[in-house]
Amino acid sequence: MVAAETRSLSQLRRGVLEYCVLSLLSDTSLYAFDLVRRLSEADGMVISEGTIYPLLSRLRREGWVSTTWAESVEGPPRRYYSLTPAGERALAAFTADWRRFRDAVDALLPEEAT
């Protein structure tokens, strides 16, 4: 059922998407377009690329990411996103929570047919 899959996926996405953003920024800073494209390349993570921008805006307001402008070779200057120390802490906390949560869910779900 496509509709059912979409609903549970969209509920899951709602909770984890912001941490996926933080994770993409953990080693390197990215400009928004790249960040969005890399997220949408992850299967099932993004349906509408435009909806990531409001999320980025919230992460900025929460102080988890910061932005700097940089000139680009072609086209207008780009805004680069990077992780703040608070963002790093949030990501570390989520990573630990996620592992625990994932293991618990895996233990409850029927085993995958191999």
């Binding site: 928004a32 435009g50 921008y53 102080g63």
Partner: protein, 223 residues
């Protein structure tokens, strides 16, 4: 070249977005439009150029302006205070719930203690109705009353055997220790002991379950 077509597509999309974004606070609206425009510019300045098909695909991937604005509305709700330190975050207390559980078990040894426990139990918002029923029904009166009642029952069962049972009046609340109960032969004493164990252990098990659920829910609610 189809530059004019491309421009028309982009302008049409931005106009739809601007229209939908009227629902947003003015600063959010400006910000969102600027970011989407930046995305479009970045996409068109890429090496692949910008023919009509590319632009259509790119706008498709951006998604319906209404969806983007809906996401912005959700995200523009008041943000939590920045950098909340989890160790400093106050969890909602479960003092009421701890009190309820203590009164339902240990508290039942004092007069009216169990009733206080029931009142606390039903005034908590962290338990379901079924859980409150469970807490009330296992065991009515709590282990305290059950202890007295169990002892009385043991005596009574013992009395059913051909041994004298002068303790039938103890249901009124007078303390009767199991030692006083008739320890006549047969199944009755064993039944009595089993019942006694049940009424002592079951409320404690229920109390632990209730407390765990309250703790779990309080943690979910967050600070």
């Amino acid at each position: 070249m189809t530059n004019s077509t491309v421009d028309r597509l982009v302008n049409h999309y931005l106009a739809r977005l601007d229209d939908a974004a009227q629902a947003l606070p003015p600063d959010r609206r400006t910000e969102l439009l600027a970011e989407i425009r930046e995305h479009i510019d970045a996409s068109m300045s890429g090496g692949t150029g910008a023919d009509e098909a590319d632009v259509r695909t790119m706008l498709d991937r951006l998604g319906d302006p209404a969806d983007i604005v809906a996401a912005a509305l959700e995200d523009s709700l008041p943000a939590p205070p920045p950098n909340p330190d989890p160790s400093l975050g106050r969890r909602p207390g479960i003092g009421l719930e701890v009190g309820a559980v203590v009164m339902l078990t240990v508290g039942s040894l004092i007069p009216l203690g169990w009733f206080v426990g029931v009142i606390l139990l039903w005034s908590s918002g962290l338990w379901r109705r079924s859980e409150k029923l469970l807490g009330t029904l296992i065991v009515p009166g709590g282990p305290g009353l059950a202890l007295f009642g169990g002892a009385a029952a043991a005596s009574w069962l013992g009395a059913a055997q051909p041994c004298v049972g002068p303790v039938t009046s103890t249901i009124s609340g007078q303390i009767v220790t199991p030692a006083q109960a008739c320890t006549g032969s047969g199944l009755a004493p064993a039944l009595g002991v089993a019942l006694l164990l049940f009424v002592l252990i079951a409320p404690i098990v229920v109390a632990i379950v209730l407390l765990n659920r309250a703790r779990g829910r309080a943690a979910l609610v967050g600070p």
